[in-house]
């Protein structure tokens, strides 16, 4: 039996990859926005990452943003953001709804990293609920991490803070 173990392993492996399918998209952007605005999605707006906004964005991300503008959807005090940040090697897509300067809802829409996808679970994302941005650009809520998913946790934390900051800028512009 022992000598057939490699062959058996190979057969199981091949049968598995024969049924390969895409993983990691948990909710489409459309579904997220529909849910956020009860089916009546506002027109997309853009905020330019220039001047002080760019500086602060860089401070939050700890690297220069690769975009010049960020899209958002807003109605009155409510805004929705769909942002991506790389944890270790691949982007994690996150949808964030902010109302009156607090996170109302945060959801991992797509996870593409090899490890660390535990951050998509509700038990983790619930920690961001009602978080607001402190003057030092940190979240008002404590976010407990997940061992082995440190970089994914960090990516979510950064995007939550960035969305809150950009929402402040959006509000002040109006």
């Amino acid at each position: 039996m022992k000598k057939y173990t490699p062959l058996l392993s190979l057969l199981i492996f091949v049968s598995c990859i024969a049924n390969t399918s895409a993983k990691g998209v948990y909710q489409s952007q459309a579904a997220f926005l529909n849910q956020a605005f009860a089916g009546d999605i506002p027109k997309v707006s853009l905020i330019w990452l220039t001047g002080d906004i760019r500086k602060t964005t860089t401070q939050i991300l700890q690297h220069k943003p690769s975009r010049l503008r960020i899209r958002y959807w807003a109605r009155a005090t409510r805004s929705a953001w769909v942002l991506e940040e790389i944890g270790k090697e691949r982007p994690i897509t996150i949808g964030i709804v902010i109302n009156e300067g607090r996170i109302e809802h945060l959801r991992v829409l797509a996870f593409r990293e090899s490890r660390g996808d535990e951050v998509r679970h509700d038990f983790f994302t619930r920690q961001f609920s009602q978080a607001k941005l402190k003057p030092d650009l940190q979240l008002s809520n404590n976010i407990d991490g997940i061992s082995g998913a440190t970089l994914s946790v960090r990516a979510l934390d950064k995007l939550a803070r960035l969305a809150l900051y950009l929402d402040q800028q959006r509000q002040s512009k109006n």
Binding site: L61, Q62, S114, F123, D144, T150
Partner: protein, 416 residues
């Protein structure tokens, strides 16, 4: 003359509204022209921004605005110049340099005062499609690889990982190639900014021989919303009959004998934020690959917990080998065990302190004392989230006649 002046004044009075109207029309036309020009400039600016963003992120605007996919505004780009046929090749890396200033309590033993660029690692990955990708790590240890007449040198160039990963569904992926054995806390996540202590802990060196890589296939996935699992079938260790210590048995997937494979299974429970509880089991069908008739199968059992509450963290691990055969039993190496407990406190996101108590023994059943103990205390300072400066003090207690190193360690490390 008076008549003439009056005529001029009357003419001017009646023509003023006409002139004003003409000015208004002209201004309005100018405003409209400026508006059109401004619109054109904004359109061109948007087009330029889109081009820059798409060339930077490798994603077209159409895809980014397609609501049917989960595409967000990407904020970081690691595809350097869009390498590869689809611009999906990524690079990264990590490294660490250590300074050890350790006194040796062994009578006649040499102190250890050295500086060493211990690890320099380059990552490279490529995404063939959204379901199939490649990942690799190339490592240079101890900075210099020098050929010597007797073949002895201080360094190592090694492929630490090189595997293809296939997404099977939302909760499962398969890997094939050189994979890291899914056991312990450090073996898979060992970038210097992610752990305390200049040197890796000795339990995950001598009992779980990190960095432990084998050639094989694995399945990784999740179930019941809070469990993850790994199943791997891979090449086995080939330990020598001198002392049967497991660390010496790593073959590095370099023409490694594969007469006797090994299998590893690991399960983690991640049900609440900050807490990970896991266990792993490995079966080696023959831990000497049939080279030693006095040794045979072996198994490894390990368990770990990581608990983070606010600024407090606790990491703890236990690992134990059971080796069959008269050979290991004769030197007490039929059981090899280790554990550590490491509490830490992060005062700020940039500064944290830790303490660690550890014990390990590669000959538990030996008639003599073969147990090592070590206590470490120190701190990490992160001037940037991916850069760390480390300091620790270590105090060892070792078996008679063995090197006993006490002293300080300094380190710098990075990842990107």
């Amino acid at each position: 003359m008076r008549k003439c002046t009056l005529t001029i004044m009357l003419a001017a009075t009646f023509s003023l509204p006409t002139l004003a109207l003409a000015d208004n029309d002209s201004q309005q036309q100018e405003i409209e022209a400026l508006k059109a020009q401004n619109k054109l400039i904004m359109e061109r600016l948007d087009a330029t921004a889109e081009m820059l963003e798409s060339s930077s992120t490798g994603r077209t605007t159409d895809a980014a605005h397609n609501h049917s996919v989960a595409a967000g505004d990407s904020l970081r780009d690691r595809t350097f110049g869009n390498h590869g046929s689809k611009g999906a090749t990524t690079i990264g890396g990590y490294g660490e340099m250590h300074y050890n200033n350790l006194g040796n309590k062994k009578i006649g033993g040499s102190d250890k005062k050295e500086i060493d660029f211990h690890r320099f690692i380059l990552f490279m990955g490529h995404e063939f499609s959204d379901k199939i990708r490649f990942w690799s790590e190339l490592e240079v240890e101890h900075a210099v690889i020098q050929d010597t007449p007797n073949g002895a040198n201080g360094g190592e160039v090694a492929v630490e990982q090189a595997f293809l990963e296939f997404d099977l569904n939302a909760d499962m992926a398969a890997r094939a190639g050189i994979i890291l054995v899914p056991v312990g806390l450090l073996n898979e996540t060992h970038e210097p900014p992610t752990f305390y202590g200049v040197e890796r802990n000795n339990v995950e060196k001598y009992i779980i021989p990190t960095t432990w890589r084998e050639g094989g296939v694995s399945l990784t996935g999740r179930f019941a919303n809070s469990f993850s699992y790994d199943l791997a079938v891979h090449s086995g260790l080939q330990i020598s009959g001198n002392n049967y210590a497991v660390r010496g048995g790593r073959q590095g997937v370099s023409n490694a004998p594969a007469n006797n494979l090994a299998a590893t299974v690991r399960v983690n429970w991640i049900g609440v934020p900050g807490l990970v509880v896991g266990a792993a089991f490995q079966q080696q069908t023959n831990i000497t690959q049939g080279m030693d008739a006095n040794a045979g199968a072996a198994n490894l059992v390990s368990a770990h917990v990581v608990w983070q509450i606010s600024q407090f963290s606790l990491r703890s691990l236990y690992a134990s080998w059971n080796l069959s055969g008269n050979g290991p039993a004769a030197v007490g190496a039929d059981k090899q065990t280790g554990w550590y407990v490491e509490p830490s406190w992060k005062f700020t996101p940039k500064f944290g302190v830790f303490a660690r108590s550890s014990q390990w023994d590669n000959q538990v059943n030996s008639a003599t004392n073969t147990q090592y103990k070590q206590f470490d205390v120190g701190f990490n300072y992160w001037p940037h989230e991916d850069v760390v400066l480390k300091f620790d003090y270590q105090n060892q207690s070792v078996p008679n006649g063995k090197n006993e190193f006490d002293g300080i360690n300094l380190g710098v490390g990075y990842q990107f």
